[in-house]
C-alpha cells in the first residue's frame, strides 16, 4: 500500500514494480475467484514477463547510475520506526534477473504441463505470489522486511508443495517443509532482533556499517550471525535441516524446478551473501558455514548416488550443490557462491523441467529402473537433459564447469586442503550420479511398456531449449560477472583445475563404465560399501530419527502437559478446591437444586477471606 507511490518512477527505483506486478496478479486471480480459469495463467505470465522487462530496464539503469536505496515508513511505535524499503545493488539486480527469468520459463512450461489440473488458476496465482515474495526478499533493504518476505516464500512453498492436497503424502510433505524451515526461522528472527537490540535499526547496510566499526559486542554478533545462519540452513536445505527438500517432490514438477532453481532454496545462500560482512567480522562463524556446507555437499551427494526416483536424485543433487555454495561462502568467496547459484539455477531448472517432460511423455514414470532408452522417443528432452546433467557434472565448457572450478579455487585459497579434498570427492560423486541418471533414463533398451512414450509439446520443449542454451554459454559471463561485482580475478591454479577436471571426467567415466558398459557391476560396488549403501538409501535414517523425536519426545511431552493441565491444575487444584468447599459446607447438598447458592456462598466466603487478608495486610 505504502509502496504504491508513483513518484518514484525513475532510474533503478522502478524495481519495486516487479514484485508489485506479481502481487497484483495474485490479488486479481484470488479476488476475481479465477481458481479454475485459464485466464489466471495469462495474468500471471504477463506479470512475471513485465517483471523481467523491468529487470532489463533496471539493469541498464544500474550500469549507469550505480547502487541506490530508498525506504519509507511502514509504522512507528514509541521509538521503534519500522520501514519498508529496497536496496538496488549488484546482488539484488542479479537475483532480480534470475528469479524473473526462471519463473517466467517455469510458468510458460506449466501452462501445458498443468493443463488438465483443476485449480489451474489458483496454481498460477500462488506462483505469482511466490515470485513476488522472492523478489521482495532480494530487494529488501532491511532485515525485518526480508523476514516478512522469507516467511511468505515459506507459505507459497507450503501451498505449492501441497497443491494436490487430497493426497495425504502431498499435504504431509507441505507441512514438513513449512515446519522444518520454521525451525530455522526461529533462529533467524532471534538473530535479527538481537542485531536490532544493539543497532536500533533493521536497516541492513547500517547494521553492517555498525558491525565493521566494532559497534557490536563480539558475543552478540557471533550469536546473531550463527542464529541467522540457522535460518539460512533451513531454507537452503543444509544438513541436518535438508529433510524437507526431497519430500517436496510431492508437488507438481514445475514447482520443484522453481523451488530448486530460482526461489526458496537460494534464499538462504542469498541471505548469507547479503550480510556477508557480518560473517567476516564475526570470523569463526565462516568456518561453521564452510563445515556445514561441505558436509551437506558430501552427504547429499552420497544419497543421490543410490536414489532410484529421478526427482529424488535431482533433489539430493540440489542439496549437494547448495552445500557447495555454502562452502564457497564459508571460504570467503561470496561472488563465486553467487556465480554457482546462477549457473546452478539454470542447469537445475533445466533438469527438473526435463524430468517433468519425461514424466509427461511416459505417463507419470519417475523410477529410473522403469525407464531407459528414451533418447529416440524424446530427442529434445534427451539433449536438454544431457546438457543440464553435464553442466552439473562440471564438464567444460558448460556453465557448471566454471563455477565449480571457481569454488574449488576459493576453497583452496581460503581453507585447509582437507576441505578441498573432500570437496573434490563430492564433485566426483556429482558426476557419477548425473551420468547414472542420464544413462539409465535415456540410454539402453526401451522398455516394452514405454513404447507409447512421446516428445512433449512445444510449450514444454521451448523453455527447455532456452535453458539449455543458457547453460551452454553461462560460463562465458564469468569474467563479466567478476567485474560486475568488482571482485578480483583469480589466477588460474592449474593443479586445482586439473584435479577438478579429473573429478568430473573421472566420475563420468566411472559412471559410464558401471551403468552403460557394465564392466563393473553396480551390485559389487554397492556390496563394497556394505551397510553404508543401506544407510544412504534411507537418507542416513535422519527422517526416522526426527520422527522418533516427534513421537517419543515432543508428543509425549505435549500429552504430559495437557494431562497435567487437566488432572493437576484442573481436577486437583480447581475441582479439589471446589470439592473441599463442598465437604466443609453443611448445607451445600442443595447445590443440586440451585447453583446460585453455591455462587453466592463462594462470593461471601471469598470476600471475607480476601477482606480479612487485606485487613491484616494493612496493619
Amino acid at each position: 500500500m505504502m509502496l504504491l507511490d508513483f513518484t518514484v518512477m525513475e532510474g533503478v527505483q522502478v524495481a519495486w514494480l516487479a514484485p508489485a506486478a506479481c502481487i497484483l496478479a495474485f490479488v486479481l486471480i484470488v479476488s476475481l475467484r479465477m481458481f479454475d480459469s485459464k485466464i489466471g495463467s495469462v495474468i500471471s505470465i504477463v506479470a512475471i514477463a513485465s517483471g523481467f522487462a523491468i529487470f532489463l530496464y533496471v539493469f541498464g539503469q544500474f550500469n549507469e547510475s550505480g547502487p541506490a536505496e530508498f525506504a519509507r515508513e511502514w509504522f512507528t511505535i514509541g521509538s521503534t520506526k519500522i520501514t519498508l524499503g529496497m536496496a538496488i545493488d549488484q546482488l539484488s539486480v542479479v537475483m532480480l534477473g534470475v528469479i524473473t527469468f526462471v519463473a517466467l520459463l517455469v510458468q510458460i512450461y506449466s501452462v501445458s504441463y498443468m493443463e488438465e489440473e483443476s485449480r489451474f488458476g489458483w496454481y498460477f496465482g500462488v506462483h505469482s505470489l511466490f515470485a513476488a515474495s522472492m523478489l521482495i526478499l532480494v530487494l529488501a533493504n532491511n532485515l525485518l522486511l526480508l523476514y516478512v518476505a522469507w516467511e511468505l516464500v515459506g507459505l507459497c512453498s507450503y501451498l505449492l508443495i501441497g497443491f494436490w492436497y487430497e493426497k495425504r503424502s502431498a499435504s504431509e510433505a507441505a507441512k514438513k517443509a513449512f515446519i522444518t524451515t520454521r525451525i530455522g526461522d526461529v533462529g533467524l528472527l532471534i538473530g535479527i532482533i538481537l542485531l536490532y537490540r544493539t543497532a536500533g535499526t533493521f536497516d541492513t547496510s547500517t547494521i553492517i556499517h555498525i558491525a565493521q566499526e566494532g559497534g557490536f559486542a563480539d558475543s552478540t554478533l557471533m550469536a546473531a550471525v550463527l542464529l541467522i545462519f540457522l535460518g539460512a540452513m533451513g531454507k537452503s536445505a543444509q544438513f541436518p535441516l535438508h529433510v524437507w527438500l526431497p519430500d517436496a517432490m510431492e508437488g507438481p514438477t514445475p514447482v520443484s524446478a522453481l523451488i530448486h532453481a530460482a526461489t526458496m532454496v537460494v534464499a538462504g545462500i542469498y541471505l548469507v551473501a547479503r550480510i556477508f560482512p557480518l560473517f567476516e567480522v564475526a570470523d569463526p562463524s565462516l568456518t561453521v558455514v564452510a563445515v556445514v556446507g561441505l558436509s551437506t555437499a558430501v552427504i547429499a551427494a552420497s544419497i543421490a548416488l543410490v536414489m532410484t526416483d529421478l526427482k529424488k536424485i535431482l533433489a539430493y543433487s540440489t542439496v549437494s550443490h547448495l552445500g557447495f555454495m555454502m562452502l564457497a561462502l564459508g571460504s570467503g568467496a561470496y561472488v563465486v557462491a553467487m556465480f554457482h547459484l546462477f549457473t546452478h539455477a539454470f542447469a537445475k531448472a533445466l533438469l527438473f523441467l526435463s524430468a517433468g517432460s519425461v514424466d509427461h511423455g511416459t505417463g507419470g514414470k519417475r523410477d529410473i529402473r522403469q525407464l531407459g532408452g528414451l533418447r529416440k522417443k524424446m530427442p529434445i528432452t534427451f539433449v536438454t537433459f544431457s546438457i543440464g546433467a553435464l553442466a552439473l557434472a562440471g564438464v567444460p565448457p558448460l556453465g557448471g564447469f566454471f563455477s565449480k572450478d571457481e569454488i574449488m579455487m576459493a576453497v583452496m585459497d581460503g581453507r585447509h586442503p582437507v576441505f578441498f579434498l573432500i570437496a573434490i570427492i563430492a564433485a566426483f560423486m556429482s558426476s557419477v550420479y548425473m551420468i547414472r541418471a542420464l544413462i539409465l533414463v535415456f540410454f539402453g533398451d526401451l522398455k516394452p511398456e514405454n513404447q507409447e512414450a512421446h516428445e512433449s509439446p512445444a510449450l514444454i520443449t521451448a523453455p527447455l531449449l532456452i535453458l539449455a542454451g543458457i547453460s551452454l554459454v553461462a560460463g562465458l559471463v564469468l569474467s563479466g560477472w567478476q567485474d560486475f561485482f568488482n571482485a578480483k580475478h583469480h589466477d588460474i591454479n592449474f593443479l586445482v583445475l586439473a584435479l577438478s577436471l579429473l573429478a568430473s571426467l573421472g566420475g563420468l567415466f566411472l559412471g559410464w563404465a558401471i551403468y552403460s558398459k557394465e564392466w563393473i557391476s553396480s551390485r559389487d560396488v554397492a556390496a563394497k560399501f556394505g551397510d553404508l549403501e543401506k544407510y544412504a538409501s534411507n537418507g542416513y535414517y535422519l527422517d526416522v530419527g526426527y520422527q522418533w523425536c516427534i513421537d517419543r519426545i515432543v508428543l509425549v511431552v505435549a500429552r504430559i502437559v495437557s494431562l497435567f493441565d487437566r488432572i493437576v491444575v484442573n481436577d486437583v487444584a480447581v475441582n479439589g478446591t471446589g470439592y473441599s468447599v463442598f465437604l466443609s459446607g453443611f448445607k451445600l447438598r442443595y447445590v443440586e437444586t440451585g447453583k446460585v447458592y453455591n455462587y453466592a456462598l463462594a462470593m461471601v466466603v471469598g470476600i471475607l477471606v480476601v477482606g480479612l487478608t487485606i485487613y491484616w495486610g494493612l496493619i
Binding site: 514509541g78 521503534t80 525485518l144 516478512v148 516467511e151 463462594a602
Partner: protein, 496 residues
C-alpha cells in the same frame, strides 16, 4: 453526535435488549432484525469513533460526564483514548459478526439475544468508563450473562476419558471470574479509600500519588484479578473448558472480547493507577506470560477436539499480551495492545468456523474429520487464513503484534523473548497439524455431502478476514492510535 457517541454505545444494546424482551418469542424475524440492526449500528459507531479520534490532540476524547451519586463521588464518566478506541472497534466488529453467526439460533432465541445484547452493553461500558465504580459495574454486567449463555445454549461433550458438561463449564467459568472480580473490587475500594478524594474518577485518582508500599501491595490483586479473565496461567483452566461448552457466538465474544477486558483492566487500572507497583511486579507477569505462551501451545499440540485446540491457542496467544505488557516499554506494550485486537479478530474467526463445521458435521474431533477442503472450500480457506494469522505469518495482523512484543521483550528480557519465539514455532506445528488433518488429505465418505458455509457465514467470516489482512498490511492507523494512548502511560512509568 460526538457528545452522545459513547453513551449510545452502552444504551443502544441495553435498550435493544429491553425491546427484544417485549417481542413475543415466536416472532423470530423481529428478534433477529432488532439484534442485527443494533449490532450493525454499533459496528458503524465504533468505526466512527476509530476514524474520528484525533491523534494530534490525544488524551481522552468524546468525553461526557453524568452525575450519579455525588455523596460517594460516583459519576458516569466516559471517554476513550487510543487504547480504548482500538478495543471499541474490536467490540464492534466481533459483536456484529457474532450476531450474524447466531442468526439461525432457534432454541429460546429471544432469551439468547436479550442476554447477548446485555453482554455487549457491558463490554462497551467497560471500555468507555472513566469511573472505577462504573467500570466495575459494567465489568460484572459483561461477565454474568455468560453463565446463562453457556449453561442454556452450550453443549456437553463426552471425551471418553473424561466428561465436560455445559453446566460444569459454565459454573467453573463463573466461579473463576467472580473470584477474580472480588480481588479487583477489593483493590478498587482500597484505591478509593487510599486516594482519599471521595472520588472514583480514574483521572483524579491518577494524581493521587499512592505510596510505594500501597502500590506494591495492591497491584498484584489487579494483576491476578483481571488476569483471571484474560486467561493468566495458572488461572486459565476455565477458558478452554468454557469455550468447549459455549455456543459459537458466545465463544466468539468470549475469547474475542471478554478476555481482552482483563488485559485492558491491567493496563487501564493496574498500570495507570499503580505504576510503581506495576514496575515491581512486571517480572512476575513476564514469567507467567511466557508460561502462558509455551504451556498453551504445547497443550494445544496434543488436543483432539477442535475447540480445545483453539481454546489452548487462546491461552497461548494471550500470553503474548502479558509479555508485551510486562515489558513496560512502548514497543512491547504497543505490540500487546495490537495483539489484543488481532487475537480478538482471529479467535472470533476460528470459533465462527469451528461452529460452521460442527453445525454441519456434529463432530469436532480432528481424528475423525478429514479432507474437508474438498467440500468446504470457503470454510477451509478462511480457517487457513485464521491459522496463518495465528502462527504469525507476515501480512496478517498477528505478525505485527507478535514481532513488536518480541522486540520489546528483547530489550530487558532476552531469554523470555527467545522462549516466546519458540512458542510461535510450536504454534505453527499445531496449526499445520490441524489444517492437515481436518482439511487436507482424501475426504472420507461421511463428509462428501457436507454443504459449505452459508452466505451469512461467509459474509461474517469475510469481515473478520478483511481486518486480519488490513491490520497485517497497513497497521499504521492502529499503531498511531495505540501510540497516542500509550505515551502518557509510558511517561508515567518512566517518570518514577
Amino acid at each position: 453526535m460526538d457528545n452522545y457517541l459513547l453513551i449510545s454505545l452502552i444504551l443502544l444494546p441495553a435498550l435493544a435488549a429491553i425491546m427484544v424482551a417485549f417481542v413475543p418469542r415466536q416472532r423470530l424475524f423481529e428478534i433477529r432484525a432488532i439484534s442485527g440492526i443494533v449490532a450493525f449500528a454499533l459496528f458503524v459507531l465504533s468505526a466512527y469513533s476509530f476514524i474520528n479520534y484525533d491523534n494530534e490532540v490525544g488524551g481522552y476524547q468524546f468525553t461526557r460526564d453524568y452525575a450519579w451519586l455525588d455523596a460517594l463521588g460516583i459519576q458516569l464518566s466516559m471517554g476513550i483514548d487510543g487504547i480504548s478506541t482500538t478495543m471499541v472497534l474490536l467490540t464492534g466488529i466481533v459483536s456484529f459478526t457474532a450476531v450474524l453467526i447466531s442468526w439461525n439460533i432457534e432454541h429460546r432465541a429471544k432469551d439468547f439475544f436479550v442476554l447477548f445484547l446485555l453482554l455487549v452493553a457491558g463490554v462497551y461500558g467497560v471500555f468507555v468508563s472513566l469511573d472505577l465504580f462504573f467500570f466495575f459495574f459494567f465489568y460484572e454486567l459483561a461477565v454474568l450473562p455468560m453463565y446463562l449463555l453457556i449453561g442454556v445454549w452450550g453443549s456437553s461433550s463426552d471425551f471418553v476419558t473424561f466428561i465436560r458438561n455445559k453446566e460444569y463449564g459454565a459454573l467453573k467459568l463463573m466461579l473463576y471470574l467472580v473470584a477474580g472480580s472480588i480481588l479487583v473490587w477489593v483493590a478498587l475500594l482500597a484505591v478509593y479509600v487510599e486516594g482519599d478524594m471521595n472520588s472514583f474518577s480514574l483521572l483524579k485518582l491518577q494524581d493521587a500519588e499512592f505510596s510505594e508500599d500501597f502500590q506494591r501491595l495492591y497491584f498484584p490483586m489487579f494483576m491476578v484479578g483481571f488476569g483471571v479473565l484474560a486467561g493468566l496461567w495458572p488461572f486459565h483452566t476455565w477458558s478452554p473448558d468454557g469455550h468447549v461448552a459455549a455456543p459459537t457466538s458466545v465463544s466468539m465474544l468470549h475469547a474475542g472480547v471478554l478476555m481482552k477486558l482483563g488485559a485492558y483492566g491491567i493496563i487501564r487500572i493496574g498500570v495507570d493507577l499503580l505504576p510503581q507497583g506495576a514496575e515491581y511486579w512486571m517480572p512476575l507477569l513476564m514469567i507467567l506470560g511466557t508460561i502462558n505462551v509455551v504451556y498453551g501451545a504445547v497443550s494445544a499440540l496434543s488436543q483432539t477436539d477442535l475447540k480445545y485446540v483453539i481454546g489452548y491457542s487462546s491461552v497461548s496467544h494471550m500470553g503474548y499480551v502479558f509479555m508485551g505488557l510486562a515489558t513496560l516499554n512502548a514497543t512491547g506494550m504497543g505490540g500487546a495492545v495490537l495483539q489484543m485486537f488481532s487475537h480478538g479478530i482471529m479467535t472470533a474467526l476460528f470459533f465462527a468456523l469451528v461452529g460452521v463445521i460442527y453445525d454441519r458435521s456434529h463432530v469436532r474431533d480432528i481424528g475423525i474429520l478429514e479432507g474437508l477442503a474438498k467440500r468446504m472450500g470457503w470454510t477451509a480457506s478462511f480457517f487457513a487464513i485464521a491459522g496463518l494469522a495465528s502462527l504469525g505469518l507476515p501480512g496478517l495482523s498477528g505478525f505485527v503484534a507478535e514481532v513488536l512484543v518480541f522486540i520489546g521483550t528483547f530489550k530487558d528480557y532476552p531469554i523470555f523473548g527467545v522462549l516466546g519465539i519458540i512458542g510461535a514455532a510450536i504454534t505453527a506445528v499445531y496449526i499445520l497439524r490441524l489444517l492437515g488433518k481436518v482439511f487436507f488429505g482424501p475426504i472420507s465418505e461421511d463428509w462428501k455431502t457436507l454443504p459449505d458455509a452459508s452466505n451469512v457465514e461467509k459474509f461474517s467470516a469475510g469481515i473478520l478476514v478483511l481486518f486480519l489482512l488490513v491490520v497485517g498490511l497497513y497497521p499504521k492507523p492502529w499503531m498511531d492510535l495505540i501510540n497516542t494512548g500509550l505515551s502518557p502511560l509510558i511517561e508515567r512509568v518512566a517518570g518514577l
